[in-house]
């Protein structure tokens, strides 16, 4: 590695595969925010998202000796994360409740903040109401800004399927959030 240059993801993965925990920590620090946002956006619950992000990174650590350096670590992480999220969604039983979840940091004195919070909550609920494959496509499109081809690669499907899922998801979301 050249002096002063940050190690690439592949270099960190190679060091990780040799048991270098510091390299693994650097890798986690570099990608944790994106991973958190995706998992949190998909699962809604912070506790579930924490479990999934943790599991994703530990799986990557376990698989590090078999990792092929390709310069596409973020795509690899997304694939692992997406699979874990979808598995979790399949296992999760629906919970029907009348209770409205509290916003994270409610500031009732500020009307604007309340409206934004209410809108955010509505958006989150609308996302959660989508089938898991549609929800994942929406998040990969909007949060990660991926192309259809990249989303298809992350989910192991076709570009046509991605286009179809995205169209249906947008239709549902527009309808659910029409009054906002």
């Amino acid at each position: 590695m050249e002096e002063g240059r940050l190690p690439t993801d592949d270099e960190l993965m190679e060091r990780t595969s040799g048991g270098d925990l510091r390299a693994f920590e650097d890798l986690v620090r570099r990608h944790r925010s994106a991973a958190w946002r995706l998992a949190c956006g998909f699962l809604g619950e912070a506790r579930d998202a924490q479990d999934i992000v943790q599991e994703a990174f530990l799986r990557i650590l376990e698989a590090a000796p078999r990792y092929r350096p390709s310069g596409a670590f973020p795509a690899y992480l997304r694939r692992v994360l997406a699979n874990l999220c979808m598995d979790r969604a399949r296992k999760m039983e629906p919970v029907y409740t009348d209770a409205v979840p509290e916003p994270d940091d409610p500031r009732p004195s500020e009307e604007e903040a309340m409206i934004a919070s209410e809108r955010g909550r509505r958006v989150q609920l609308a996302l959660e109401a989508l089938p898991s494959n549609q929800r994942m496509v929406v998040l990969l499109k909007y949060y990660e800004g991926l192309s259809y081809a990249e989303i298809a690669a992350a989910l192991g499907t076709t570009e046509k399927a991605v286009e179809r899922h995205l169209a249906r998801a947008r239709e549902c979301l527009c309808s659910a959030l029409a009054d906002l």
Binding site: E14, S17, G18, G19, L21, F24, E25, V28, R29, R32, S33, W36, R37, C40, G41, A46, A49, Q50, V53, Q54, F57, L58, L61, E62, P65, R66, Y67, R68, P103, D104, A116, S117, R119, G120, V123, Q124, L127, V138, K141, Y142, Y143, S147, Y148, E163, L166, A167, R170, L173, C174, L177, L180
Partner: protein, 164 residues
């Protein structure tokens, strides 16, 4: 282009996923159609709402949790499982080369000495070359097959032909 198609393509149009000619066609339609233009505006508003929706703050316990799990995982691996992929590949390549070299040696050793195969002796003959090499190296022609001789060389004996 009809509205039906324009609506169908509005999502991929917004995502920049259409071929240039189709993109231009949708763009022309949207510029002149109020209804389809509104639909596109709704899609853009939806994108803004999703991006602006608050996400739970990153928990402080996440990174320590991951590192704790990683430490435990690395400890449980043991030394045998921490070979990096590149090192493993080099080892595999070295084994392959060694295998080929040994195979070649055994192939040469399996050649019968002069007379057994019926090949005419002479310069350029492969057996002759092998035998010449052997004679030059060890001072005498081998008895029996080269394979026997190879085994002989690895068997300790009182007075070695090797020293002759």
């Amino acid at each position: 282009m009809r509205c039906r198609n324009a609506l169908r393509f509005s999502g991929p149009y917004m995502d920049g996923e259409l071929p240039a000619d189709l993109h231009a066609e949708v763009e022309r339609h949207l510029a002149g159609c109020e209804g389809c233009g509104k639909h596109l505006e709704r899609l853009r508003a939806l994108e803004r709402m999703i991006l602006e929706a608050p996400v739970h703050p990153f928990p402080d316990t996440l990174l320590p949790g991951i590192l704790r799990g990683a430490g435990a995982s690395l400890r449980s691996r043991g030394p045998g499982r921490t070979i990096p992929l590149r090192a493993a590949r080099w080892a595999a390549a070295a084994l392959l080369v060694l295998g080929i070299a040994l195979g070649s040696l055994m192939g040469i050793a399996a050649l019968r000495v002069r007379g057994e195969t019926g090949a005419p002796p002479g310069p350029g003959n492969r057996e002759e070359t092998v035998l010449d090499f052997y004679t030059e190296a060890f001072g005498a022609a081998p008895r029996g097959s080269l394979a026997d001789t190879f085994l002989d060389l690895n068997t300790p004996r009182e007075s070695g032909r090797r020293d002759a």
